[in-house]
């Protein structure tokens, strides 16, 4: 099977293969037929199309947020730097293929010998690329004496402080490495993570992983603002791909104490459990007061349209601010935080139920920033101490990763560091 066949073109082939599963010779013949007379490819919608893997920056940051996510954090188990580098190279090769809509390895799912386990797990065989992006990050714990990286740890990658009301579970926090897989088809994202995890056995071990459905941010002006599980539009004021000056100022690293991070970005992940049952018993007026926006339109209180600028200086008849002093959007606003902004890219999650009859639901908050300690930390300090919404929230997972710059053709994830 040639390099150029993507999974979609394998559709017909996979069908033929299924009828003769286990009979290698026949499957091979079917493959040849598919090459000579390729089935016409249905026009791929934008959601199906691949996102380029290579570039100045990693994909999956300003890429218009896809609808689904599978995020995984790893502990590195090998003590040999060469094995870590070898894995990053293997991962890069598999990521290049999978983001192009191909199998993790050439002929991976059914093209190998019948006596060996397939090199690709196969569940994405007849699915398009689905906008899959794979984004790698390095946690602070990687920069110890195991791999000689202690001197390369940027100041910006210092551990996050403990915030008031944090209830962090170590089994849902931290990690030496992370991979964020986003796609418009959940099976494509899960397939990518599953195959990368498989390549890593023995070198790395999964520390925790999180599935997300429903993006809670738009990262492009071409996207509408989605709603989080509180039912509110979330991320209206997000940084957008169409504003390169703001991205350069708030998202992409340049200068600083770690050259290897130039063109990269810092990723903060927070698993925020929402006590949605309690929230749902809260009056509409109170919900809107807590958020600071109208639930229907998303307009800031005191304004008309979603994208109207929030005016924190308007007072109501009672002389109190229309957007209360402890409203979520006020505390999180650039105006309250000395101009600090961030690129938010979170996802809703529901991980079944908690055994007490409540949904284990919430927001898997993800943001990309140039310096988490100047951007995320002040915001979270303000929110965790003053935001009334905190009564409905429980932060139970937290991690900070340094996402290196994009990979050039022929390079590999982290080649500026390792």
């Amino acid at each position: 099977m040639g390099e150029g066949i993507d999974r979609r073109r394998l559709l017909g082939l996979a069908g033929a293969g299924a009828a003769v599963a286990g009979v290698g010779a026949l499957a091979g013949a079917a493959a040849d037929r598919a090459l000579v007379h390729p089935t016409p490819v249905a026009s791929t919608s934008q959601l199906d199309a691949p996102v380029p893997f290579h570039g100045e920056h990693q994909a999956g940051i300003v890429t218009p947020a896809q609808d689904r996510m599978h995020f995984v954090a790893f502990d590195v188990r090998t003590k040999k730097r060469a094995e870590l580098v070898a894995l990053l190279k293997q991962w890069t090769a598999a990521a290049e293929r999978m983001t192009a809509g191909q199998e993790a390895a050439e002929g991976g799912a059914v093209g190998g010998i019948p006596q060996a386990p397939p090199a690709d797990t196969g569940e994405a065989l007849d699915l398009p690329a689905s906008g899959l992006t794979l984004t790698v990050g390095f946690g602070g714990s990687l920069f110890d004496d195991r791999f000689g990286l202690a001197g390369s740890r940027p100041a910006a990658l210092a551990d996050l402080p403990r915030f008031p009301q944090d209830d962090l579970d170590p089994a849902r926090s931290g990690g030496d490495l992370c991979i964020q897989a986003c796609a418009n088809d959940p099976q494509v994202a899960v397939h990518a993570v599953r195959n990368l995890v498989r390549l890593g056995f023995g070198t790395v071990a999964v520390r925790w992983s999180q599935l997300g459905f429903g993006r809670t941010s738009s990262t492009s002006t071409t996207q509408t603002t989605p709603r989080n599980l509180f039912g509110f539009k979330d991320g209206t004021n997000n940084l957008k791909a169409e504003d390169p000056a703001a991205l350069a100022e708030h998202v992409w690293v340049s200068g600083g104490d770690a050259d290897w991070m130039t063109g990269g970005s810092y990723l903060v992940a927070r698993r925020i459990r929402m006590h949605i049952e309690i929230w749902d018993r809260t009056s509409l007026a109170e919900q809107e007061t807590i958020v600071g926006r109208a639930k229907g339109s998303g307009a800031p209180l005191g304004q008309l349209q979603e994208f109207d600028t929030a005016d924190f200086h308007v007072n109501g008849a009672d002389g109190e601010p229309v957007i209360p002093v402890d409203a979520h959007i006020r505390l999180a606003s650039a105006e309250s935080l000395d101009g600090v902004r961030m690129l938010r890219r979170g996802y809703n999650f529901v991980d079944g139920s908690d055994g007490q009859g409540h949904l284990d639901a919430g927001l898997f908050f993800l943001c990309f920033v140039r310096d988490p300690h100047r951007q995320f930390v002040p915001m979270q300090q303000a929110l965790s101490t003053r935001d009334v919404m905190m009564e409905y929230l429980e932060h139970n997972g937290s991690a900070l990763f340094a996402c290196p710059p994009g990979v050039r053709p022929g390079g590999y994830w982290g080649d500026t560091l390792l």
């Binding site: 003769v20 599963a21 286990g22 009979v23 026949l26 188990r77 010998i113 006596q115 060996a116 386990p117």
Partner: protein, 376 residues
């Protein structure tokens, strides 16, 4: 014991696919294509009674009134492939890989019982010279067979001691011997599993015993010893265990293994660890799972050791990875030693279990590649 595996599941060279055939695109003929079989209540008409070695396809049409099935047997009624439940009017397909030329037998079984209506079937030539070509592979199987024999002897000895203790109602002694006797069982379990029915009799857990089957064997006695106390029939169960083990050992010593079975056996032993021992499901009353864990890894190592000369020649990097990962598992298991044996599963912390699971995953991946190297 993980699940009931039939003989066919481990006999890798016989790739077998049964498919319901609806389309008539490739009509069976008497040429090189699928071989038509017209089955009725009294006849089994096979359109061609010979074929070249390799992939042979039968298309079995049931023209009778009874549900039927179709078999291809090698000598001694060893099943190479079967297609069951062919209802009246239905056509089903049986694809069988037959590697070696020789005499075979076809059979239709109207009503799905009895010896069926039989016919001779000849296979010409040989699909691959792989079988005897490589002397190193032959030596691998001989070497592993010696290992199986030695473990089988010890299995009889230790099972006898265990059974005697149960029958003498020496509960403490029996409890001490339980994990010891199982060492030899767990080391060669994939071989035992290849004999189908006897594995669940010896090692079946309560929940995997099928309807109509009695709960016997090691785990029944484990329940008696640790939970229920010895029962009126414990002594009889002990006798049956020894009889079943003796029968199994007889078969294990005479079975002909091929290199792929060694490779798959090595992997399956790790699968057993990953799904049964790491979870504490195997020895739920005695909690002696780490003994079984150790023994599964021993058995896996033995199979890889037998294949080693071949593997070194074909994929030296894989061998060094396997060495490292086996060593990591060994080192980790040693930390759970307690006296002559191991800590109980209930003494392990969640972190301990996670560490063991990681080590098994790390070993399981490269082990799964061995079969491909042996076959390739």
């Amino acid at each position: 014991m993980l699940k009931l595996r039939t003989a066919a599941a481990i006999a890798v060279p016989i790739a077998l696919v049964v498919a319901c055939s609806q389309d008539k695109a490739d009509t069976p003929d008497s040429g090189g294509g699928p071989i038509a079989v017209q089955a009725s209540d009294t006849e089994c008409a096979v359109a061609r009674t010979d074929a070249d070695a390799g992939t042979i396809t039968f298309e079995v049409s049931n023209k009778g009134t009874k549900v039927t099935e179709f078999y291809l047997y090698a000598e001694g009624d060893r099943i190479l492939g079967e297609v069951e439940n062919i209802g009246p009017g239905l056509t089903r397909r049986l694809i069988v890989e037959v590697a070696d030329g020789g005499k075979y037998t076809t059979a239709c079984k109207p009503g799905m019982k009895g010896d069926g209506i039989r016919g001779d079937f000849a296979v010409n030539g040989s699909a691959g010279a792989a079988k005897d070509a490589d002397a190193k592979l032959a030596e691998a199987t001989t070497s592993y067979q010696r290992y199986v024999n030695s473990q089988a002897d010890a299995l009889i000895t230790k099972t006898t001691e265990f059974v005697d203790a149960v029958k003498a109602e020496k509960v403490d002694e029996a409890k001490a011997l339980f994990p010891i006797a199982r060492i030899y069982w767990e080391r060669i379990e994939p071989v035992a599993e290849s004999f189908g029915d006897i594995d669940p009799k010896i090692d079946g857990r309560e929940e995997v015993i099928e309807e109509g089957m009695e709960f016997t064997g090691f785990h029944r006695l484990e329940r008696d010893l640790w939970q229920d106390g010895l029962q009126a029939d414990s002594s009889a169960i002990a006798d049956r265990l020894l009889a079943d083990v003796t029968e199994l050992v007889g078969m294990a010593k005479s079975v002909e293994l091929n290199p792929l079975q060694l490779a798959n056996g090595a992997k399956e032993l790790l699968d057993e660890v990953a799904t049964g021992k790491i979870t504490g499901e195997e020895d739920r009353y005695s909690h002696t799972d780490l003994y079984d864990f150790r023994s599964n890894v021993d058995g896996s190592q033995a199979a890889i050791a037998a294949l080693r000369p071949v593997l070194e020649e074909r994929d030296a990097a894989l061998v060094s990875t396997l060495d490292e990962r086996f060593a990591a598992v060994d080192t980790l298991l040693e930390t759970y030693r307690s006296g002559d044996g191991f800590k109980l599963y209930t003494e392990l912390t969640p972190d301990d279990i996670k560490g063991l699971a990681e080590a098994v995953d790390a070993l399981g991946e490269p082990l799964s590649k061995v079969a491909g190297v042996v076959a390739g």
